[in-house]
């Protein structure tokens, strides 16, 4: 495959018309595991090469290390969250945030949320059972994780209408293409980022010095752990990251899950009889229809070689996680949705030091959401297949998922 073909395949992947089924395009990409693009960037689409780069210390997550940062500059801002930083800054901030989220300091936090998660889901479902037609996205998959992340962070749930628009505009920045996209979209995204940060800074101010509540924002604001305390900028960046990630990814995982199960009635039927199967079903969903399809921006910190190709220092590296998840040289029969798959080491949560921070929460949310949804819906069937998709090629998922029940 020539450079031009790889570039055009990737352009087609970004194009909204490919959103419902990008997988044949990923298969095309995989013919050149490490493909140089016209603009000098590299697209990596095969499992082993992606995992090698996720664990390669010469790959930087800080877009400041790109020769030609392009629109990523706007996304990064001056005080990036740990997702856009390298060790040791990344490690320090992630460690500090993890103190209130998981092991070793808060090992039971996620599991202790189980009753709350069940209550939120039950509440949402109570409003659905009597309806003939529901929108899985608006009625269920969106409000559930948003309620949870607000609660966890200490962001008032009633402010959701305010920050919802900001988050959408920020997400629209992720795959901004200066060649084809209107400049307004960039300006809007940057402004939204500033607005959201100002909003969070205000919330932070209100938490300062008061007896710490149980929410993450309060705890970060008053923390004095072994690493000291985060600066205000760092707290805002961290909260910003968790708010966006916590509500733009799980919604897709739940919706993609509902869609996939409705397309595989045999699996759905088994799941209803055997709810314990949900654990490996969600793992298979993370492989088969991952909510984060690709990592657009990584940077070669120095010259590095992968699969015989040398990527020069400063180059942009795009890791197509969803393509790695369908790589037949790693997964047997990769286009088959098979919850019984063993040793399912999918790339649904990325890997390496940036492995998804919220993975344990996303897993539990999705397990509960899908089990409860399908336990309560009567003979559900899709109204439209494929459903309409959201814009983003990175955070890919249906915009609506209409389901009719008897």
């Amino acid at each position: 495959m020539t450079v031009t073909q790889a570039s055009s395949t990737f352009q087609r992947i970004l194009d909204h018309s490919s959103r419902a089924d990008p997988y044949p395009l990923y298969a095309e990409l995989r013919r050149t595991p490490v493909a140089r693009q016209e603009d000098g960037g590299y697209i990596v689409s095969t499992y082993r090469e992606i995992t090698a780069l996720l664990h390669d210390p010469h790959v930087s997550s800080d877009t400041d290390n790109l020769h030609d940062p392009g629109p990523s500059v706007a996304i990064r801002g001056d005080s990036p969250a740990f997702i856009g930083l390298d060790p040791p800054q990344h490690d320090r901030l992630r460690r500090m945030a993890m103190r209130y989220f998981g092991p070793p300091h808060s090992p039971t936090l996620i599991d202790d949320m189980r009753p709350d998660l069940n209550a939120i889901v039950t509440n949402l479902i109570d409003n659905l059972v009597s309806k003939d037609e529901i929108d899985v996205v608006d009625d269920f998959a969106y409000p559930f994780p948003v309620t949870v992340i607000c609660h966890l962070l200490g962001v008032p749930r009633e402010d959701e209408p305010r920050f919802h628009g900001w988050v959408e505009a920020i997400v629209a920045l992720l795959d901004f293409n200066p060649a084809t996209d209107p400049e307004d979209r960039m300006r809007e995204g940057v402004r939204a980022r500033e607005d959201l940060r100002a909003y969070l800074a205000e919330l932070l101010e209100s938490r300062r010095g008061r007896p710490p509540g149980n929410d993450l924002l309060s705890r970060l604001a008053n923390d004095d752990g072994p690493d000291g305390r985060m600066t205000d900028e760092e707290i805002v960046s961290t909260a910003n990251l968790l708010l966006i990630a916590g509500h733009e990814t799980t919604v897709n995982l739940i919706t993609n899950g509902a869609l996939t199960l409705l397309r595989h009635p045999d699996v759905l039927e088994r799941l209803r009889r055997e709810p314990g199967m949900i654990v490996r079903t969600v793992e298979e969903l993370l492989r088969y229809e991952p909510p984060v399809q690709l990592i657009l921006w990584r940077a070669a910190y120095s010259d590095l070689t992968v699969a015989g190709t040398t990527i020069p220092k400063g180059s942009r590296i795009t890791l197509v996680l969803a393509s790695g998840n369908r790589d037949p040289s790693y997964f047997r029969d990769p286009d088959r949705f098979d919850p019984d798959r063993r040793d399912n080491q999918h790339l649904g949560f990325g890997g390496g030091v940036h492995l998804c921070f919220g993975a344990p929460l996303a897993r539990l949310e999705t397990q509960i959401a899908l089990n409860e949804l399908f336990r309560n819906l009567e003979s559900p069937r899709l109204v439209a297949d494929p459903p309409p998709y959201r814009q983003s090629a990175v955070l890919r998922g249906p915009r609506h998922l209409l389901v009719r029940q008897e």
């Binding site: 664990h55 210390p57 800080d62 390298d86």
Partner: protein, 463 residues
């Protein structure tokens, strides 16, 4: 054709005996069934309980987080096996294809897997070892008893030996706010496995957590009171340590005594085998029906110049068991070599230590990422200009990269800059105190003159 048919007969109706019912034995049994072996499967184990996991015994069990009997290994599938538990194997009749058990029973086999592992090296003086309060930690009973004693709040614990197990136990003591002294003959903890440079970091870590660390000393004598309880240890530097609990953590002894007269290449070094896990006989000839896996195996690794390695690592037991099981039921043209990179982990003083490769087979070491002062770093080991191992302190997620460097014989030191590179990245000598670990005393003699008559026999002390 005949051999193909007999192999199929064996896969359907053969008899496989696995001696050793711990991690390697259990995983091999599961893998044999996964491979489609439908014949009879017998597991022999000297402990009466079902297979359990050992890593928690020096960590989570001693902190009280997990009860000693709560570490049973998960079962990955049904294995439909006959379990002969609570009785050790006492002999092997290779010609007659029978395993002899200590209670006099004999178990016939067509193919045998030896996975008898390692036991704790006891304190050399028997009377001192028998004092109340002197412990080793290898079995879950050991760990359960030590946990009880730690829970009673001893005045001071003495740990003899600062390898991984000893250091982990010292770490648990500090976590539980129990005063602890560690006595180590080498210059620092962990040097035997990781060399001087990392050893000195481990020493700092221990002292920073309040361990009374005594290096370069030997414990010469344990002293008890009139009621037979341990009270004091005497050190080679003339010092003494008053302690009411003494943990002997001096490594392991491979369980090969039962194979002494079997004609296999079995001794203090383990049971030698090829990379396909087939045991060697005493002459170094490979056998067809006897396989070895886990801590007791001693197997050549091509990446390390085909040196024979004995690895007491959890992952090695799992991976070697799978290879052994596959080869036991497959045709000679479909044999797998056991080529996985050695890897192990430890948890001590709040730090996750993880290693890949074989650090002892190196001459230099360099910190490639992170900060030694903060006890968060990756160090790469090299041997004559190529990478042979890496160790991480709280940086385990990078090790896959280093595994790849080792497997591809990448040049040492790794040169390209990384974002988290120390300012002064200079290799230093790796320095392992006992880097010659191949032989442990005279073990064999060769007899005969002509190639047809030359044979090996074990050297027997005193005749």
């Amino acid at each position: 054709m005949t051999s193909e048919r007999s192999r199929e007969t064996f896969r359907h109706d053969g008899r496989i005996v696995v001696v050793g019912a711990s991690l390697a034995g259990l995983r091999a049994a599961e893998a044999l069934r996964d491979e489609g072996f439908t014949g009879s499967l017998t597991l022999v184990g000297d402990e009466a309980c079902e297979p359990y996991d050992r890593p928690p015994l020096s960590k989570q069990v001693l902190t009280g987080w997990v009860p000693a009997d709560g570490t049973a290994l998960p079962r990955r599938r049904e294995i439909d096996a006959e379990w002969l538990l609570g009785v050790p194997a006492s002999g092997l009749d290779l010609a007659g294809k029978r395993v002899e058990l200590a209670d006099g029973r004999e178990v016939p086999f067509d193919r045998l897997l030896i996975a008898t592992g390692v036991r704790a090296r006891p304190w050399a003086d028997r009377a001192e070892a028998a004092l109340d309060g002197v412990f080793v930690v290898r079995t879950r009973d050991d760990s359960g008893r030590l946990w009880e004693r730690l829970a009673a709040g001893p005045g001071r614990v003495l740990v003899i030996g600062a390898g991984f197990a000893g250091s982990e136990i010292a770490s648990v003591c500090r976590e539980r706010d129990i005063p602890v002294t560690v006595a180590e003959t080498a210059e620092a903890p962990l040097v035997g496995a990781l060399g001087s440079m990392v050893g000195s970091i481990a020493a700092n870590l221990q002292r920073a957590h309040g361990v009374d660390l005594r290096c370069g000393v030997k414990v010469t004598r344990l002293e008890g009171d009139e009621r037979g309880r341990v009270r004091r240890a005497h050190l080679s530097d003339g010092g003494t340590v008053d302690a009411d609990v003494v943990v002997v953590a001096l490594g392991g002894v491979r369980n090969t005594e039962w194979l002494r007269d079997s004609g296999l290449a079995a001794g203090v070094w383990g049971v030698a085998c090829d990379s396909g896990c087939r045991a060697f006989d005493v002459n170094g000839l490979v056998t067809d029906d006897v396989f070895v896996a886990g801590d007791v195996a001693r197997c050549p690794h091509p990446v390390y110049e085909y040196r024979f390695l004995s690895l007491e690592h959890w992952a090695n037991a799992v991976e070697q068991a799978q290879v052994a099981a596959h080869n036991m039921v497959s045709s000679p043209t479909d044999r797998w070599p056991h080529l996985s990179m050695p890897a192990f982990w430890s948890m001590q003083f709040g730090v996750n230590i993880k290693s890949v490769g074989v650090p002892v087979l190196s001459d230099e070491v360099v910190v490639t990422q992170g900060s030694v002062e903060e006890h968060r770093f990756v160090a790469a080991y090299g041997y004559r200009g190529r990478v042979t191992a890496a160790v991480s302190f709280d940086n385990a997620k990078w090790l896959d990269h280093y595994r790849h460097l080792i497997e591809t014989a990448a040049p040492f030191p790794p040169s390209c800059p990384t974002p988290d590179q120390p300012a002064d990245m200079k290799p230093v000598p790796a320095h392992f105190p006992n880097s010659v670990i191949i032989t442990q005393g005279a073990t064999v003699v060769v007899t005969g003159y002509e190639p047809s008559e030359r044979r090996v026999a074990f050297a027997r002390p005193g005749g």
